[in-house]
């Protein structure tokens, strides 16, 4: 049996697990955007309810993935060090308080829910960061990336929900630019990590390039009606109705791009660490095993390990 030292794609977290990060990111981003809407006096209850629905859908998907779903309550047992436990604890406060805010329309409750949503999103980012067996998740820049993409997805969905005023276009554009910066920082970090080479290959392949293209196109589609409205710049064919369509499409692309990147990050680009052998053994009988035609096999030499 020949067992390779190469890393391999993890096979335990599939698209259901990715769904938790997609639903959690989009949902919490939408909840935060809805809370901002509540603060400025805009309608927010529908968006808040939708955000809670995304979070609940994500949690349901991960519940379907675990090996012992009827023991799911054991997830609460380890708050001292486990970010998964902390995520569950925050979620258990987020859902009832969110439903209360939706039912009552209370701005204060919406702001409190947004704080919990931010905490939930942070927990999700730290769940990946704590996975020391997966170099692509272990990267420090994964935390700002997960936070920024959650906000970009949520603000994008808010545009889809019909909020096309300049304020929300600007917010979605800002979130998208933040995600762009976080993505570039994450890629740069991965490029400096030898163990992440297989993950980089995934991010260089066509599906990832498509997601990234959608991300950039979404930014452009959001920027166009924003420039039209805020700066008074006119573009041929951009009517108020056309601007709304552009904002809708831009929001959709912002969300879809984030979902695509997360699906790739969890299910395709997550490779295990390879075995690390810093020294090869000294072998052979007699006085010096490293002589004659074995001279090239210098004993005890340090080898260049992929990790």
């Amino acid at each position: 049996m020949n067992q390779s030292m190469a890393s391999r794609r993890q096979r335990y977290w599939d698209l259901r697990a990715a769904g938790n990060f997609i639903g959690g990111g989009t949902g919490t981003g939408l909840i935060i955007t809805a809370a901002l809407a509540a603060v400025v006096g805009a309608p927010f209850r529908l968006a808040l309810a939708l955000g809670l629905g995304f979070v609940a859908a994500g949690l349901s998907l991960v519940w379907l993935e675990i090996g012992k779903p009827w023991r799911a309550l054991n997830v609460f047992f380890h708050p001292r060090t486990s970010w998964m436990t902390r995520e569950a604890i925050v979620a258990s406060g987020l859902m009832p308080l969110g439903l209360f805010a939706v039912a009552t329309g209370s701005t204060a409750a919406a702001v409190a829910v947004a704080l919990l949503a931010a905490g939930f999103l942070f927990c999700q980012a730290r769940i990946l960061r704590a996975a020391r067996g997966i170099p692509a998740w272990r990267q420090a820049e994964i935390v700002p990336l997960i936070l920024a993409t959650g906000l970009a997805e949520g603000s994008g969905v808010y545009l889809i929900a019909g909020a096309h005023s300049l304020r929300w276009l600007a917010f979605a554009l800002l979130a998208g630019l933040l995600r762009e910066a976080a993505w570039l920082a994450y890629r740069a970090g991965l490029a400096g990590t030898a163990a992440a080479a297989p993950s980089l290959a995934v991010f260089d392949a066509a599906p990832a390039r498509l997601a990234r293209g959608a991300q950039l196109a979404g930014l452009g589609l959001i920027a166009l009606p924003l420039a039209t409205g805020a700066l008074g710049v006119t573009f041929p064919g951009i009517t108020p109705w056309g601007a709304a369509v552009l904002a809708w499409a831009g929001g959709a692309l912002a969300a879809l791009a984030g979902w695509g990147v997360k699906a790739l990050l969890i299910a395709r680009a997550a490779f295990t660490r390879a075995a690390a052998i810093p020294m090869v053994p000294t072998r052979g009988g007699g006085g010096n095993p490293c002589t004659a035609n074995l001279a090239a096999l210098r004993c005890g030499r340090r080898v260049r390990s992929p990790v």
Partner: protein, 217 residues
Amino acid sequence: MTRYVMVADLRRCVGCQTCTAACKEGNATPPGVQWRRVLDLELGTYPDVHRVFVPVGCQHCANPPCMEVCPSTATRQRTDGIVTIDYDLCIGCSYCIMACPYDARSLVDRTEYAFGETATPAEAARAHRRTIGVATKCTFCAERIDAGTARGLVPGQDPEATPLCVNSCISGALSFGDIEDPTGPIATLLAENQWFRMHESEGTEPGFYYIWDKGKL
């Protein structure tokens, strides 16, 4: 204090996989799951190449990342350093598998036998339904250690109290024992040879040592 560790002498290992077979037989792990593996590595570029056999498995880290992330506290560490999984607490979230830098954990979600529908005698005797849907890994044969020490035997020296992989090793490459015993064979072995541990930069302090040459570090 006691801390049980394993030592693999890479100069001695011949890659025969007897340890793998002994573990498989003794623990009746399902197809595709091997708690003790021996990597067969080819390193370098022709003509400067090396072939190395590296026994791997759970490293029973002093700072186990699997235990840190486990949401259910199913993964624990005994006072003798052995990292365990409580199969009745584990929810099968696989998070520990993602956290292990040594790729040492597995999870299967259905009962399977090595030869189709019928269990082999070893599987019939030792495979447990409660290991389906939960994380599993090498236990350093903790049951053997506990049963042996209860009879006054010494793990690593008395076969009845020693992990099966160590007992089966044909070349004496694998050693096991208490590293905290300053006059014990493990402490002596590590003092007289040069060794490394895998992925030490992660701060896990693995309990698995790889000897690669004689002489002090």
